[in-house]
Symmetry: C2
Subunit: 297 residues, 2 copies
């Protein structure tokens, strides 16, 4: 299912994360984000990078292939904070970063700092298919040879029409090309909305996911946890959602690898999709869990 | 994805289980099986139906839509035991039954008893695409107007060629038609083997599943738990496998609804596939779990 297009992100010292059909899911660790984390926001405000560095390191230890850096909080001087956090994180880990901001200057500051500290190819999070946003973020990604996430909606807004989402995704891929960004450097997000608000929300995203994989042959990502918003036992819903997407070709996910149940379901899905030769990663992870239990027991 | 072909099983008093793309997964409860259950085997041997009835009732209470009846154990007079168990289960629950035996006489005894006690359409488990087996089980299913599970392999044995599995499935659908069994009464099992023994085992089944759904447009089932055989943390692997299959069109599964984690991932998958309007079943199940916790706490 799908082509073998490869999105190769690269941090420092040659550390890569490769998205492609036929490879295991790339995990983009989302934990470094001050939303609903007052202590982290206060530290970032004060220029204290202790938690930011620990978040990055722990996520990589737990299996993150890419670290998403989001420093948006009320009162944040986002470009300044982004540069400081990217620098701190680059000293802590070697993996590529995902520069996550709606602020163009903050995104540029993040990309610049990433490059200055030896980073080779970052991921920009994100553009939509809206002309204005593409006109800002695509040239920036091109300038820094970064890959970019494309959210599958345009000026019509977010609706539940698979065709609209596919058109928006195709538009982003096309427009990126005009700025010299190869297809392989655009990662489409089929958009996840709360299934509690609309019964069809999950199905529409899953159907879009399949068509992006088979018709547009692009790599894909998903900020999957929104799907359960407003419903009880959210974690159980999120657990099922990732394999549903992976089965339809998802090649990366923005998620928290520190949540064991989520990370285990990703490992199990990789195994079942044939992306874990001789179950080596599965067995290694099992031994780690066992050792951790023994250590705490 | 797929057509809207419906497999309508029916127990007594009009109690139906309907498999179709676009509907929630039909759960075939597999618990009533003496394999590795010495006490159940001893009861069945002695003609004591206490556990058999309890297994059936509890599974239906937990969400099973169909009860699989398997009475194969060493020393079993299978046709006699099958008839007795089917009769006992029919008195306990109204749902349709899945008559699960490799023994033709036992299968016939089960179908006959099912009909005598008001059952309308049972499911026979199973034929393969082997001529000899089809020649025995298809006429029997036709005689009793039963639906039948078709395991996707033939004389060539079980291998890891998707094409072979698809050919075997197509052959069963075709041959069934010659006996007057409509396509809608054949339920294909893409065959699940242990991923620990062959890295490609999961992928081959998933690819077969997708092609059975889209190319053959048949309803499907899976005895999914084999996939994790021989590996540690089997339950985590099984949890991921069901959504992977469901995302590719699986319309029923042979599983144990008494295992909460398995049943919850099925409910969550139904919700995310758009088969649980307004999340009604999800919320109802949450309330049941909550009440059970309160009761035990």
């Amino acid at each position: 299912m799908g082509s073998t297009i490869e999105t190769i992100l690269e941090g420092r010292n040659g550390k890569q994360a490769v998205m492609a059909p036929g490879r295991r899911l790339v995990v983009i660790g989302e934990r470094l984000n001050p939303t609903n984390r007052k202590k982290l926001a206060a530290q970032l405000q004060a220029g204290d990078m202790t938690m930011a560095r620990a978040d990055a390191r722990r996520q990589v230890e737990q299996g993150a292939d890419v670290i998403d850096v989001n420093v948006g909080f009320a009162g944040s001087d986002e470009p300044v904070v982004m540069a400081a956090v990217v620098e701190a994180v680059m000293k802590e880990v070697e993996v590529p970063l995902c520069i996550d901001s709606a602020n163009l200057q903050a995104t540029e500051a993040g990309l610049k700092t990433f490059a200055e500290h030896g980073g080779k190819k970052a991921l920009v999070n994100s553009t939509t298919g809206e002309d204005e946003r593409m006109g800002k973020f695509l040239p920036l990604a091109a300038e820094y040879s970064a890959a970019i996430i494309g959210l599958a909606h345009d000026e019509r807004g977010i609706d539940f029409e698979v065709d609209h989402r596919l058109e928006a995704a195709a538009k982003i891929l096309d427009r990126a090309g005009k700025y010299g960004i190869p297809r392989s450097d655009v990662v489409i997000d089929a958009l996840t909305l709360a299934v509690g608000a609309n019964t069809n929300a999950g199905r529409v995203t899953l159907d879009t996911q399949l068509r992006v994989t088979t018709e547009l042959q692009a790599n894909t990502t998903s900020g999957a946890s929104n799907v359960s918003f407003g419903l009880p036992d959210r974690k159980l819903i999120n657990l099922a959602y990732l394999p549903l997407l992976i089965s339809r070709g998802l090649t990366s996910a923005i998620t928290n690898p520190l949540e064991d149940s989520i990370y285990n379901v990703i490992l199990a899905s990789d195994l079942l999709m044939g992306h874990d030769a001789d179950a080596r990663r599965w067995i290694e992870a099992f031994r780690k869990r066992r050792a951790a239990e023994d250590g705490s027991g």
